[in-house]
């Protein structure tokens, strides 16, 4: 019995190993995009460029970056293809990308207010993505919830326990969303909004796709997502809707050639294809639904499809400063984790208590109670570090391991976590006291 299995396996093994020998024109791409995105591109690219085959390796953005770093000594990957620009920035910083000048010219320099391409030519935007709010229509209807339009809507009591977000430390796109809010509203006000949303969160997922997945299935009502998740879900028939809040930004999804690519020619061919009209057209397929970077394509776009180059709302979007973002990436992510993700229950508890007190106050105002509630809100939105501190070299070194001995990351995390625990507990106590004063 075992012998037969072994023999069968050897035969199959031989069959597999022959696959390696065939293709000279294999272009290997590491991507975070799902099969629904990559399959149409693969088919179209191979049709346009006979002789080349696209070999897709799926990895999450973060593990893809880690992977390229681990294998750099003997790199076998030609392209890195993902959404979050900061991942490309990180790769560029580690000298893991190669410079290239694409053949396709005449594409816009900026989408919204974000530069489409890396100024030094290490990576290129091929599609635009905006961040916004997605919801499940059935869910909102069943729970009698209004449709949200702005980030601040999500801090309202009626959305308590109905919102989902991906952890910014896990999702590059969510990180950009968070950073957009912080840059748009300022450090302190921005965190106030984020913690307000935090108090309403039902879940903080570990994968970007976890949020649209939960909204699609109706486990959660509202999610903070990148636009194409909503568009492709709509195309798939799910009862979901999407809105861009006024404070948001459109950023490009990118592709870059990996340094020392084994198939440089193939890599270049794919970048050129992706930016060409043929490649850009694929973006409009129902299962993909991303905003093309070539304005001409919008002529063929389906009804209601947003156009970041024409729609006025995109023009008024804030300027995203990627330098500011870069300096404090780790700090912002860790703050979000320590103050919101890992403190979700205390934060929600305090927020709920405040809602209860405010509801009572609305019916009957008691000055002392009002003061207490305001204090409670102040405690929740208070931050353990200022914007300047967050970007300071001392704190940054704790995360990256600088030459100088600084506080260790673990120590900072513990400080911030205990800051949050204490504040949320106090806020809850104050809110409960306020409620008892009103009753």
């Amino acid at each position: 019995m075992l012998k037969t299995i072994a023999a069968a396996m050897l035969v199959s093994a031989a069959a597999i190993s022959t696959v390696y020998a065939q293709d000279g024109g294999k272009v290997t791409v590491v991507t975070s995009f799902s099969k629904d995105v990559t399959d149409p591109f693969k088919a179209s690219f191979e049709a346009e460029n006979p002789g080349f085959t696209l070999d897709v390796q799926n990895k999450s953005t973060s593990s893809g970056v880690k992977y390229l770093d681990e294998i750099k000594a003997n790199n076998q990957v030609d392209l890195f293809w993902a959404s979050a620009p900061d991942a490309f920035d990180s790769l560029k910083g580690k000298s893991l990308l190669a410079k290239f000048a694409p053949l396709v010219t005449g594409l816009p320099e900026k989408v919204g207010s974000y530069p489409v391409n890396d100024p030094e030519g290490y990576y290129f935007g091929f599609a635009a993505s905006g961040y916004g709010i997605m919801w499940n229509d059935r869910y909102l209807e069943a729970n009698n919830l209004p449709k949200p339009a702005e980030w601040s809507d999500l801090t309202k009591p009626e959305f308590h326990d109905h919102v989902a977000i991906a952890a910014p430390s896990r999702s590059g796109t969510t990180h950009l969303t968070i950073e957009t809010v912080l840059q748009g509203e300022g450090w302190d006000k921005g965190w106030g909004t984020l913690k307000g949303i935090g108090g309403n969160l039902q879940q903080v997922t570990e994968r970007s796709f976890g949020v649209p997945d939960a909204v699609n299935s109706g486990q959660t009502g509202i999610g903070i997502v990148i636009d194409f998740f909503a568009f492709s879900a709509q195309a798939g028939g799910f009862p979901v809707s999407f809105v861009y809040p006024s404070v948001t930004t459109v950023v490009p999804a990118n592709i870059g050639i990996v340094a020392n690519a084994p198939n440089q020619k193939g890599a270049e061919a794919f970048v050129n294809y992706l930016l060409s009209e043929k490649g850009q057209a694929v973006l409009l397929e129902p299962s993909i639904r991303r905003l093309p970077i070539n304005p001409a394509l919008y002529a063929n776009a389906p009804e209601g499809f947003p156009n970041p180059f024409k729609d006025p709302r995109f023009q008024s979007m804030i300027t995203f400063d990627s330098d500011v973002s870069k300096k404090r990436t780790d700090v912002v992510d860790t703050l979000f984790d320590q103050l919101i993700s890992f403190q979700l229950d205390p934060l929600k508890g305090a927020t709920k208590a405040i809602y209860a007190a405010e509801k009572a106050l609305a019916a009957k105002d008691v000055a002392e109670a009002r003061t207490l509630v305001n204090e409670a809100r102040g405690l929740i939105s208070a931050m353990p570090v200022t914007a300047d501190e967050a970007a300071s070299p001392q704190i940054r070194d704790a995360f990256t391991g600088g030459e100088q001995k600084t506080a260790r990351q673990a120590e900072l995390e513990q400080q911030w976590a205990s800051f949050a625990t204490k504040n949320y507990a106090e806020a809850k106590a104050k809110a409960e006291k306020a409620l008892s004063l009103v009753d």
């Binding site: 880690k66 896990r170 997945d213 513990q414």
Partner: protein, 569 residues
């Protein structure tokens, strides 16, 4: 002095074969487990930035509230999962072994199926059934205006984990129950014990070794599992913390590795504890013959209750698979008890690709299972039949693989083998063989337990008789030990095979192209987009059916073999 000289001291003859076996297995474990894991875990002992050796990271672990909380949560969840898994497994095991119960074979096979839970899709299916707005809660809310938080927080993790891992207890407990000498029970009845007291005082204590073996596996697996808590968005547990920290972009945070080290220590400690608890309690092997427990007939009333209980449990434990099946046929399934409509398109979508996935999965999983059975069998033999130095270390090393997170092993493989190239420049790490080895290492502990139990059941006098009749150690192993262990080896192979077939965490780092990918990877890739949910579920169903068929087949082979041998008197 002359008399001393005439009685020369004899050394216990050194057995070069055994030493070579220990060395070879040690080398294998070193190259494919200890070194790769070590290169990653080493970070735990270094200072960030300077890279100097330090233990301060471990102090930080215990100084951090989050980690302390995570630690206790993990212990709590693992412990409670054992309790619930026991409550699920106990009735099934008792009814199928102690009573004349039709469908015992079906239950024993179906009871194995929960272990075959493809990644992602299983959790999605569970959410659709038991989530806050899943089928059950939507109906409960409709009818009674209440929701039960099955899937929320630590309790959600306990719920899903007990449903997933109870087969470990079921399998081991059933084996133990079957091996109890009939006279043990008869003696108790003779002395006036019966019914539940008889079970509590005699039968259950006697089946303790099997139960403990299963329970410790459940504990360790739940303690080290990261996928379920993460998919339920529970982050304050150790394994998810380790994973989040190891895989986050740009972070060179040693704490993730510190947690990995602590996971390994706790897991090995738990296995050691169960080994200590079992010491001197191998009742089942002391008493052979008598042919197992008496099977009692159920009265009509009892039958109804028993079938009811079994039906309910089976419905519960198979619910992820039922959900998966529904999902694979669903068009849109959103905020409704059942899908809006049903369709076959998802199967059509995956039909072309699935053949390569299935082929790869079968190759990888069966090679991994084969490696596991060979190495697990060898370690079990060294442990039980020899006194060669280092055999315990092999055991601990192989067992520690239980606790090494798949990601850590995956990264370790890249680090260790990417620099090593074949003559044509292909890095060793990109060969699909590496995936097989990673799978084999990850599943080795299961196979080792199975082989150990199988060898324990083989009376040593059977081997001595062969040696006495002129068979060397090698010949004895080939002609006596291996044939008698076949059932156990096959059981070990099946466990390794079926769980490796749906494993993803270690392979995700190592898969180099779609043509090398196993089915779990295919599911993962599909499950990243809304439109991929259906096809992903379809692939998941295919995976479950494929593995279940292989399992059923081997059960059948084992059964036939057992019948051929007869209950060895």
């Amino acid at each position: 002095m002359a008399s001393v000289a005439s009685i020369p001291f004899r050394r216990v003859t050194a057995k070069p074969g055994q030493i070579a076996a220990v060395a070879l297995i040690g080398l294998f474990l070193a190259i494919f487990l200890i070194v790769p894991a070590g290169t990653v875990i080493y970070t735990a002992f270094t200072e960030k930035g300077t890279g100097a050796l330090t233990f301060v990271n471990f102090l930080d672990f215990f100084r951090t509230d989050l980690f302390r909380r995570s630690f206790f949560n993990s212990v709590y969840v693992a412990g409670m999962s054992v309790v619930w898994a026991t409550l699920i497994a106990l009735p099934l095991a008792v009814l199928t072994t102690r009573f004349d119960f039709r469908g015992s074979m079906v239950i024993q096979t179906l009871g194995f199926v929960p272990l075959i839970m493809p990644p992602f899709v299983g959790a999605v299916a569970m959410q659709l059934l038991f989530g806050r707005n899943g089928t059950v809660n939507l109906m409960l809310y409709d009818w009674f205006g209440v929701r039960i938080p099955f899937m929320e927080g630590l309790n959600g993790v306990i719920f899903v984990q007990s449903l997933h891992y109870f087969p470990f207890i079921l399998i081991n407990l059933s084996t133990s129950l079957r091996n109890i000498d009939r006279s043990m029970e008869e003696a108790a009845q003779n002395l006036g014990s019966s019914g539940f007291r008889l079970f509590r005082r005699i039968v259950f204590p006697l089946s303790m070794p099997g139960y403990l073996a299963g329970a410790s596996l459940v504990f360790v697996k739940v303690f080290d599992d990261l996928a379920t808590p993460l998919l339920l968005n529970v982050k304050d547990m150790l394994a998810p913390q380790a994973y989040l920290r190891v895989t986050s972009v740009g972070l060179t945070d040693p704490m993730g590795y510190v947690i990995s080290v602590i996971l390994i220590i706790v897991s090995v400690f738990a296995m050691w504890l169960s080994a200590v608890a079992m010491r001197g309690k191998d009742y089942s092997t002391v008493q052979r013959g008598g042919g197992g427990l008496m099977r009692r007939n159920l009265s009509r009333g009892e039958s109804i209750v028993a079938y009811g209980v079994v039906g309910f449990i089976l419905l519960l434990v198979l619910s992820p698979h039922i959900g998966l099946l529904l999902l694979s046929f669903a068009t849109v399934w959103s905020y409704s008890p059942l899908p809006d409509d049903f369709t076959m398109v998802h199967y059509a979508r995956v039909f072309d690709e699935s053949s390569i996935y299935i082929k790869n999965t079968l190759i990888y999983a069966s090679l991994a299972g084969l490696i596991d059975v060979v190495i697990g069998g060898a370690i079990a033999y060294l442990l039980l039949r020899t006194k060669v130095v280092g055999r315990r270390w092999l055991d601990w090393a192989a067992t520690s693989a239980l606790a090494i997170p798949g990601v850590v092993l995956g990264i370790g493989y890249l680090r260790t083998f990417y620099g090593v190239t074949l003559p044509d420049g292909t890095p060793l790490a990109t060969l699909w063989v590496m995936v097989v080895l990673a799978l084999a290492i990850r599943r080795l502990p299961y196979a080792l337990r199975a082989c150990y139990a199988a060898l324990q059941q083989v009376s040593e006098s059977l081997e001595e008789a062969a040696e006495n009749l002129g068979a060397t150690k090698q010949r004895t192993i080939r002609r006596i030990v291996l044939p008698l262990m076949t059932g156990g080896l096959l059981a070990g192979f099946v466990t390794s095979f079926s769980t490796a077939a749906v494993e993803l965490s270690a392979t995700l780092m190592l898969i180099q192209s779609n043509s090398d990918a196993p089915i779990a990877y295919g599911i993962y890739v599909f499950m990243q987009s809304p439109a991929g949910r259906g096809p992903g579920a379809a692939l998941g169903v295919i995976a479950v059916i494929m593995v279940a068929l292989c399992t059923l087949l081997s059960h059948y082979v084992i059964e036939r073999r057992q019948k051929a041998i007869g209950s060895a008197k």
